[in-house]
């Protein structure tokens, strides 16, 4: 096949040949190519199939607006779909393939969809959802369910790899005085002006090269500009897209670090997600050339005029031999001239009849003509043209390429992110940026300036504007007026003969035609936001950069309104797609969340612990002996605790030091039960309510001294409780002299539980008298020494229901404490126990945790009414019996047994009456365990009306998710030792 590459053109490096694969065949390109330019050079016209109709699609553009050449890059775990071939730099070994076609883009079986077009018109999905009238009114989902898998297969783009992403990504931050987006003439002028005025400047360019649209000029060399920028200390970031503007002059950047490298260094991230904080933003993002809608305007070989100029002058590729350019404005003539000079036979159709343009007559100009229809299917055979006054085929021109320019749309997207609506400019037939109070200035062709000198002037004016707004200068300035062409543009969006049917594409990527827009109008979807969603116009990953204005003009026409009255949709970030990998950065896998470990973490692991996550904490889950399963292990551990003794790391509990003369008053206000009379050397279990009367957390507070308490909270609520206490002291009760300090990290805690726990402690403390029943009664607290002179705090507190102690030492002593306790625990055939056994023990005992106190439960619901003082007011006391909270049939804490004691059940089971198994039932099971003590499964949970109402009734546990049902009965939540004789032993 003959190459389209021509000599003496382009800025590619012809000494460096790169091999790449396209659809499983090998090709060659040069350093400096994009995938698109290399494909074009190799004469590959069809690079994809369209979204709905599977029509062959070629390369429409040379940049980010591309809506045809979306390809898949890479393979296996690096397969990246929907990449614009026009912005993908070529590298040696690049693998790419066309999308949305089977078996390939040249021969696609689903091409038949093209002939079923009327079934795939606008709103197809919505209508399928609603059902086919009149048979299926209201039953639409059935037909959707049936067709869904076929439709999804037929109407999709590329598919992403399902393997883990092998690349790494990074989040980075930077600051500057001024960030300039775009390195065209305007952006560069602005950056230089600012750097000369001593501003700290970052210049961002999405392309690999600095220069903007000048890269399409035949003699352009950017080295001088780069030197100048570098000498001024401007930070240049190429391959970096400013994808979004956010509050307070924050700019989001995506830097593609290695996407252009064949074998990147694995220590370098693939992409960087930058958050830049600037004092001022200058946007010189350029303008995007529009196409024109007419029949078959999507046949491969159709391209924007500016794109062909880029391919010629930057990549040395002449995209056609017999080229027809169709336009309504002056911007195409320089390109026409250059294309014909490069050897193409060029004809320009200009819809305007009355205008003057200087040319060297190397090409023909047909004034007053427009494109009418393209003949051909996989490539262009010829173009039917029409007079622009009355639309009808007048003659046919043989050609292999049709270049379109329907005018230019300034890239106002970034400003639109800030909620600034653009305004329509009739003279230039485009939306122009409006002014904003924020420190953002638009320059260059993104403010509608069409010639280079105006762009440069606007860049300098933009920087003066920035300096003025930053209070650095007070200089007068003015921006050049929008426009700059010799002859005015003549609006031209669609060429159509009212009588003929046509397939004239507005949005190439989503296969939206002008007829779809008309259909939307007929069916009443006339607001632009509705039009967009009904037709999916502008919803593909190009976000309608080329086609939106055409769609708007059609709707305006249909409504007999002007474009500004119809309005425009709001552009939202990102300007171009941002990969999920870049958004997540390093926050993946085990780095997804911070990791918290207790000071005896390694000790636990060394002693055989299997760990489990509780909030951010790693906690021992169970300590299996040889061949033990989780269930073997926790049952053994729990039984051992009940029989002799066990020790368990409880460090993750929140710990707060409460100090100051008003500490007692403070605790008395935040806990629902009385704390006014707690003696020094005693601890008390307490419940905190929220303002609205719902239980927030539970825990214990130990009175260490007259004005000092040590509070523990649940693991999960520790941070919340701490913030809550600070809020109360700093905002509501500012007269209280209390100081709260989080000491969670400072203390390592262990629970020693079981009938032999006192013996174990006795062996571990320096003075064995301190833990006798007299000296340390139930809920007693002591500060003493462990053997080896280790200061510790001990409280006789039980969560398991056994005689038990909590021992705390400074974190540094954690391992020493564990060694000491474990050595002595072993003497009594005790064990280490983990969270699973802890759970079993507390469920047997009917103690609640966050599984029960889930933010919906009152103190009465939890069966803890006696913890609600009637003698004082406290947080939540006014509200705990409000409205529905005082209903008689609220769900109350109960225990559950399976009726057949051999059966098991799961947490999450819905409790129902026997013949009424539906909906939310009458209750739910929140925690379950096998009870070693009772020898069968037991559960905790809630049921409407509580134990009294259902004591002797057989109920059903429904577990529809796991397709399970069993009979169960309601019992007291205190399933063992209800009187607490063991705890007080």
């Amino acid at each position: 096949m003959k190459t389209r590459r021509i000599d003496n053109y382009g800025k590619i490096n012809r000494d460096k040949i790169l091999s790449f694969r396209w659809d499983k065949k090998d090709y060659k390109g040069f350093e400096g190519d994009t995938l698109a330019s290399a494909l074009l050079a190799n004469n590959i016209g069809i690079v994809g199939r369209s979204f709905k109709y599977h029509r062959p699609r070629g390369i429409f553009s040379s940049g980010v607006e591309e809506s045809g050449a979306l390809v898949t890059i890479g393979s296996k775990d690096r397969r990246d779909p929907n990449v614009r071939a026009t912005t993908q730099e070529l590298y040696n070994g690049l693998e790419a393939s066309g999308q949305n076609a089977f078996p390939n883009v040249n021969f696609d079986l689903a091409g038949i969809n093209n002939y079923l077009g009327r079934f795939f018109a606008a709103g197809f999905y919505y209508k399928t959802f609603m059902g086919i009238p009149p048979l299926e009114w209201g039953r639409g989902t059935a037909i959707w369910m049936f067709f869904e898998k076929f439709i999804r297969k037929a109407a999709g783009m590329g598919s992403a790899s399902e393997l883990p992403d092998p690349d790494s990504y990074e989040h980075a931050h930077d600051f500057c005085d001024l960030i300039v987006v775009g390195s065209g003439p305007a952006g560069v002028a602005a950056a230089i002006e600012a750097a000369e005025k001593k501003l700290d400047v970052i210049l961002v360019e999405q392309d690999s090269l600095v220069g903007g649209d000048q890269l399409a000029e035949n003699n352009f060399d950017n080295s001088q500009i780069k030197n100048q920028l570098g000498n001024l200390g401007i930070k240049i970031m190429t391959r970096t897209t400013a994808f979004g503007l956010y509050d307070n002059c924050v700019v989001g950047l995506l830097e593609r670090v290695t996407d252009h490298i064949s074998a990147p260094n694995v220590n370098i991230p693939r992409q960087r997600f930058w958050t830049i904080r600037a004092k001022h933003i200058i946007v010189g993002a350029g303008a995007i050339e529009r196409h024109i809608a007419f029949n078959n305007n999507d046949i491969p070989g159709v391209m924007t005029v500016n794109a062909s100029k880029h391919y010629l002058n930057r990549y040395g590729v002449l995209t056609g031999k017999r080229i027809v350019i169709a336009t309504n404005n002056d911007s195409v003539y320089e390109t026409a001239h250059q294309l014909s000079e490069a050897g193409a036979n060029v004809t320009v159709l200009d819809s305007r009849t009355n205008f003057e343009i200087e040319t060297n007559k190397s090409f023909e100009i047909r004034k007053g003509y427009v494109p009418y229809n393209i003949n051909g299917s996989k490539k262009i055979d010829s173009l039917d043209i029409s007079k622009s006054e009355t639309i009808n085929k007048s003659e046919t021109i043989n050609c292999d390429q049709v270049l379109l320019s329907g005018g230019w749309s300034p890239a106002v997207h970034l400003l639109s992110h800030r909620g600034v609506k653009p305004k329509w400019d009739y003279n230039n037939a485009c939306f122009l940026p409006s002014d904003t109070k924020e420190n953002i200035t638009m320059v260059g062709s993104s403010r509608g300036l069409w010639n280079k000198n105006d762009c440069i002037a606007s860049g300098i004016a933009g920087t003066i504007d920035a300096l003025n707004r930053l209070g650095i200068s007070k200089t007068n300035y003015f921006f050049p007026k929008p426009g700059g062409w010799k002859n005015p543009i003549q609006p031209l969006y669609e060429v159509k003969n009212k009588k003929s049917r046509s397939k004239s594409f507005v949005d190439y990527q989503h296969d939206v035609t002008t007829d779809d827009v008309r259909l939307a109008h007929r069916e009443g979807f006339i607001s632009v936001e509705h039009l967009k969603r009904y037709t999916t116009l502008g919803m593909a990953n190009d976000q309608g950069k080329m086609g939106n204005i055409i769609g708007l003009s059609l709707m305006a026409d249909l409504l007999n309104k002007e474009i500004p009255e119809v309005g425009t949709t709001v552009f939202r970030p990102p300007y171009t797609p941002v990969s999920i990998g870049a958004l997540s950065g390093r926050n993946v896998g085990k780095h997804f969340r911070p990791l918290r470990v207790t000071p005896m973490h390694q000790w636990n692991i060394d002693h055989g612990a299997k760990m489990i996550e509780v909030g951010l904490y790693q906690r021992p889950w169970y300590y299996p002996k040889k061949n033990e399963t989780l269930s073997d292990s926790y049952i053994r551990e729990a039984s051992t605790v009940r029989k002799t003794v066990g020790i368990c790391d409880v460090t993750s509990l929140g710990k707060i030091a409460i100090q100051g003369p008003d500490s007692t008053e403070f605790l008395n206000r935040i806990y629902s039960n009385d704390f006014s009379n707690l003696q020094v050397g005693k601890a008390r279990y307490g419940i905190m309510l929220r303002d609205d009367g719902i239980v927030m957390d539970d825990g214990t507070s130990w009175r260490l001294a007259e004005n000092e308490y040590f509070m523990t909270t649940s693991t999960g609520e520790a941070a919340k409780v701490m913030s809550w206490l600070e809020e109360l002291l700093q905002t509501r009760w500012t007269d209280l002299n209390v100081n709260v300090t989080s000491v969670s990290e400072q203390w390592a805690g262990v629970s020693v539980a079981g009938p032999k726990s006192r013996e174990v402690l006795n062996n571990c403390v320096d003075d064995s008298l301190v833990v006798t029943n007299n000296n340390l009664p139930f809920m007693g607290v002591t500060s003493t020494l462990l053997k080896g002179n280790i200061p510790c705090r001990i409280a006789r507190i039980s969560f398991s229901g056994e005689l038990a102690f909590e021992v705390y030492v400074k974190s540094d002593f954690a391992n020493t404490m564990m060694d000491l306790l474990w050595e002595n625990t072993k003497k009594y055939e005790g064990c280490l126990y983990g969270l699973e056994a802890l759970g079993a023990l507390r469920v047997e005992k009917g103690h609640v945790t966050v599984a029960e106190l889930d933010g919906r439960v009152t103190i009465d619901d939890a069966g803890l009414s006696k913890m609600a003082s009637t003698k004082k007011s406290y947080i939540g006391s006014a509200m705990r019996k409000r409205g529905v909270l005082k209903n008689k049939d609220r769900e109350i804490l109960v225990g559950f047994f399976p009726t057949n004691l051999k059966e098991t059940f799961n947490a999450g089971t819905i409790v129902c009456e026997k013949n009424n198994i539906k909906g939310q039932g009458i209750g739910r099971i929140t925690s379950v365990t096998y009870s070693p003590e009772l020898g069968h499964w037991i559960g905790l949970g809630f049921v409407k009306g509580g134990l009294d109402k259902w004591k002797d009734t057989n109920l059903v546990g429904a577990d529809p998710v796991r397709n399970k049902q069993m009979n169960l009965k309601v019992v007291s939540p205190h399933m063992i030792d209800p009187k607490g004789e063991r705890m007080y032993a």
Partner: protein, 94 residues
């Protein structure tokens, strides 16, 4: 992308702070009626424009602050400690 000028720490990113709520509420006394409490905690204004709101410098100095912020533009007019005594200290140190 709000930045809050903490009176203790200086200007910091909003990711260091936790949002509290309406800073203008006078919470009733603990023994006030259910009605008064209902008013205070459930009936809130949804202000368009500047409002006083509390923020907790939870990943910083742990102080609760009153921030005067526009709900439309995120512009911040003032930042003060919630605690009145600390407000005075900050004022005097200016």
């Amino acid at each position: 992308m709000i930045r809050i000028n903490c009176p203790y720490c200086g200007e910091r990113d909003h990711s260091e702070f936790s949002y509290g709520g309406d800073a203008t509420i006078n919470y009733p006394s603990l023994d006030a009626s259910e009605k008064e409490w209902t008013e205070a905690i459930f009936f809130r204004k949804n202000i368009k424009g500047f409002q006083f709101e509390t923020w907790h410098h939870s990943n910083g100095c742990r102080m609760w602050l009153v921030v005067e912020r526009s709900t439309v533009t995120h512009e911040i007019k003032s930042v003060k400690p919630c605690h009145p005594d600390l407000q005075k200290v900050v004022e005097n140190n200016k």
